[in-house]
């Protein structure tokens, strides 16, 4: 038996143990970090592959207002204008971005956002905290935007209810990137290279790059765009997205995966090479 096989078994065992402790300690990163260290010693894998971590949880409206969720709802019910203005400033941009995926123009999207806030005034006394305020707010928006989108004949509600998400899509996007047959089947035709170690903030400073990302998002099918807007741009959790958009968890993941793959492809030329 070759030496590497005997080394593999402890790795697998250790990984299993780490996976178990992950539930106890809730430290998901530790799992991959430790495994990487072991693999580095065993197989000489020298490149740290988790250099870029997803940014920690961003500030929420509760942090800026120093109010918890029930406090926020009570303040809105009591008609606190300062709180309302802060909440409005916080969420309007996100609402507008999401509304734009339902309706054909920005002007209509702005109207939908206004209607949404009107819906919030009307409904805040009936809000029972069965979902978070954010989920409730986004659900009001999606309901109004759907109605408006149908009226403006852009949004087709059948898109979400079909079993396969975005049925108009062909086979998986990635297929063309891999060798289709022979001994190298399933391997990269052109392996992805390391991107420039620029921070995302600096990448976004480049107008061309930002325009490319915005265009890529605009060109996504409506459902993919909605999921990506909520998940990656606004940082809404996957359960909340399923609640807001009324889709299954699996559907949500498939849509998100397709959207991310497309945006990555658009970002690629700007981060690779000297364009940045």
């Amino acid at each position: 038996m070759p030496a590497y096989v005997s080394l593999l078994a402890p790795c697998v065992c250790l990984e299993g143990w780490l996976f178990y402790t992950r539930f106890l300690l809730r430290k998901p990163l530790i799992v991959t970090v430790r495994l990487r260290i072991i693999l580095w010693f065993v197989f000489g894998v020298s490149s740290p592959f988790q250099r870029l971590l997803i940014s920690p949880s961003p500030l929420t409206v509760h942090d800026t207002l120093k109010l918890d969720e029930p406090g926020l709802v009570r303040a809105l019910q009591a008609g606190d204008e300062q709180v309302f203005a802060a909440v409005m400033d916080w969420y309007s941009g996100s609402l507008l971005r999401l509304a734009m995926s339902y309706v054909p123009s920005r002007a209509v999207a702005e109207e939908v956002v206004q209607e949404t806030w009107m819906g919030v005034f009307e409904g805040i006394h009936r809000f029972e905290s069965r979902s978070s305020f954010k989920t409730w707010l986004f659900r009001i928006l999606t309901n109004r935007a759907k109605t408006r989108g149908i009226r403006e004949s852009r949004y087709e509600p059948s898109g979400l209810s079909t079993s396969s998400p975005d049925a108009d899509e062909g086979p998986s996007l990635e297929d063309s990137l891999f060798v289709a047959e022979g001994s190298r089947m399933g391997h990269w035709k052109d392996p992805p290279h390391d991107w420039e170690p620029d921070t995302p903030e600096r990448v976004l400073l480049s107008k061309e790059c930002r325009a490319a990302i915005e265009t890529a998002i605009e060109n996504l099918p409506a459902t993919q765009r909605q999921v990506m807007t909520l998940r990656d741009i606004e940082g809404v959790s996957s359960e909340e997205i399923c609640n807001i958009l009324g889709i299954s968890e699996t559907n949500q993941r498939v849509l998100l995966h397709r959207a991310r793959t497309k945006v990555r492809r658009e970002l690629n030329p700007y981060v690779q090479g000297d364009n940045t």
């Binding site: 495994l35 870029l52 400033d89 309007s92 702005e110 945006v263 970002l267």
Partner: protein
């Protein structure tokens, strides 16, 4: 010949997850929704395949970039109009709540 052997070896060691599988499962992996064995196979592949490590890093980079996108600017007149409506609602609100109580 050498690369063939390397790929055969990799496939044997990483439990037949190809790079294509990795690319397809990457969102599930980041979501933490892979099963125990899938996760191990995924990580074993990552440990051995620099291209897939790069791909994972690129995906994380893409997400981090998307998260940094600034919110859509809302025109000032929309904001002002909404605040006006809010004030109007506030004035109306106590009456309407009294009304609903008496109903």
């Amino acid at each position: 010949m050498e690369t063939n052997l390397k790929h055969k070896l990799m496939r044997y060691m990483v439990g037949n997850f190809s790079c294509q599988d990795i690319a397809q499962l990457i969102t599930d992996y980041m979501d933490g929704s892979l099963t125990f064995t899938e996760r191990i196979r995924f990580q074993m592949h990552l440990g051995l395949c620099f291209a897939c490590r790069n791909y994972l890093r690129q995906m994380k980079y893409t997400i981090a970039t998307l998260r940094q996108l600034p919110p859509e600017p809302v025109p000032q007149h929309v904001r002002e109009e909404l605040l006006e409506r809010f004030r109007a609602w506030k004035q109306r609100s106590p009456q309407s709540s009294v009304k609903s109580e008496t109903d």
